[in-house]
Symmetry: C2
Subunit: 329 residues, 2 copies
């Protein structure tokens, strides 16, 4: 099934069920007022939500209305925990080669970055950032939302607790990223608000594209309408379940936890392109000694979308403009 959160003036918005073709929606408040509430009560909410989804797809849902992604917030407008992985090692390898970095990774241990979750931006909202000198970049990713996962869960147990799949833009400010990475304590200014696609879908909705705890779909990234890249999620070096088990070694993960995949990146990047500017710039540097692709200027437009085998958009599109903000420090 497909779920979204529409603006209603509250911090968590209101839950709606969206039709498979993303054309129609229907209010789900009678089942759960918010997506967070649905995840917390999944055992009782799942069946009635699925029944409503079936009715909506069959044109039998009362009071359905046209779904407008411009009215959507991120499916979870805020969460209580968000970790972003860097699970496509191909991306890290390119970055390390281009910039002569050595990230001290440990064999078998995934790269995971604890992140803030209090203010996700909507998929069509203008995205303000204060200064072009911050070197604004995007990172196209897949992400999952989980139910409660107890401390010590195995990869299989954890993976069975994945409730929803999303796409996301992990907005990144590269000027701050290298400085913060070298300090060692993770990212603050390098990673402002994250943006998720308008519709979250259950894993079964992906059919064969959900396999081995990975999303086997191309993520199509456009910059100002022009195709930038379309790498596939299947090359993730750890499954979502493996990463969840690593995190749950000594902590409970609670309902509504979000885990991102890291920038989607493929070994065939010269054919399929990249999902972030930094990777393309790194490839340019490796190939010619010089990065020529510019970071984002105010006014630029980015879109992210994934299409199923039937050619239909699975999650809807993130489609937003990067704009100045009127902030004074």
């Amino acid at each position: 099934m497909k779920l979204a959160t529409l603006r209603n003036g509250s911090r968590d918005g209101r839950l709606v069920v969206v039709s498979r073709d993303l054309a129609r929606a229907v209010d789900a408040a009678a089942i759960a007022p918010t997506l967070q509430a649905a995840i917390e009560h999944w055992a009782t909410a799942e069946a009635p939500l699925a029944a409503l989804y079936d009715a909506l797809n069959a044109g039998r849902a009362a009071d359905s209305f046209a779904f407008d992604a411009a009215q959507a917030m991120s499916p979870l407008p805020r969460a209580h925990q968000f970790i972003d992985a860097s699970a496509f090692l191909n991306h890290g390898n390119i970055m390390e080669e281009a910039y002569h970095l050595t990230v001290k990774k440990t064999e078998g241990i995934p790269v995971l970055i604890q992140r803030q979750a209090d203010d996700f931006a909507g998929p069509r909202d203008d995205y303000p950032f204060p200064d072009e000198a911050d070197n604004a970049d995007f990172e196209g990713e897949f992400a999952v939302i989980t139910d409660d996962i107890p401390m010590g869960a195995s990869a299989a147990e954890a993976q069975a607790r994945i409730r929803l799949v999303m796409i996301m833009n992990d907005v990144s400010m590269r000027t701050h990223l290298f400085r913060e990475l070298q300090m060692g304590f993770g990212f603050i200014l390098a990673k402002p608000a994250t943006v998720f696609g308008p519709v979250a879908v259950t894993p079964d909705e992906l059919g064969e594209a959900w396999a081995d705890g990975r999303v086997h779909l191309d993520l199509t990234v456009r910059r100002n309408g022009e195709l930038f890249g379309h790498p596939n999620g299947r090359e993730m070096d750890w499954s979502f379940g493996q990463m969840l088990a690593h995190i749950a070694y000594n902590r409970n993960l609670r309902a509504g936890f979000i885990l991102g995949s890291g920038t989607v990146s493929n070994r065939a990047h010269r054919r399929v392109g990249s999902a972030c500017l930094a990777e393309r710039r790194a490839v340019e540097k490796i190939d010619t000694g010089e990065s020529v692709t510019p970071f984002l200027h105010h006014g630029e437009r980015l879109s992210f979308e994934a299409f199923g085998a039937d050619g239909q958009s699975v999650f809807g599109a993130i489609d937003h403009r990067f704009v100045p903000c009127n902030t004074q420090r």
Copy 2:
């Protein structure tokens, strides 16, 4: 005023007002069901909560009952964003000297670590951790809870949005910490669930002990009942307001945001002791070449408490035992 959250079977617990002497409590559900709700509606909740606090202190509150910290959850049992600082540079300097580390800090930029916020442990709950080989440690800290702070806020503006002050134990697993620090992406296994003191207090409640955006109180740490250290919060190298402004450079902070101070550490550490094992072990290593203080074993008991000028406990005590967990990976 003083606020706490009591268990009621829900994830967020129920809000109560606690008397100044921590002896009595009264339900605050008629004003706000949870502390998160109170912070989100502070403009309307503050005055009636303060009136209830005055009535409770005067012995005039109907239906008051004995306050039992063993029934308390962390004041916010979960939040949407939690950052822990390392704002006492004295601590970092000792660690760097003992272990010949060089943390690549930038002049004027605070050390801040993005953290998870979905599963804070209660102040009297047994604290399970899987393996003594993880080198379990504690870090005694102060922390603040803020209201919404818009992107671009100044230090003064941000500091005026601090609503509550707490004490916390930033539980740390040292075996994982150095490895994760060297990788550069921050902490995952090094920092399992954090624990906050039972009572959160408004800054005015601290009187002269709240000055310059710092808590000028000793934090008394006991290990198995024995005094371990009592460093004072006044030596923080950045005020809470300065750190909040740094974080808010390119993000909105939303109501219920928690910022920790980092391990309280004083230049006179040889007289007042430390608030974590790692610092004492580092001092031992500097002095004698060898660390002798052991990390935590299962079964050990830790307590953290701060006392006002009148000798009364301000926040109540974190007082918990570290225990094995029955988890299988």
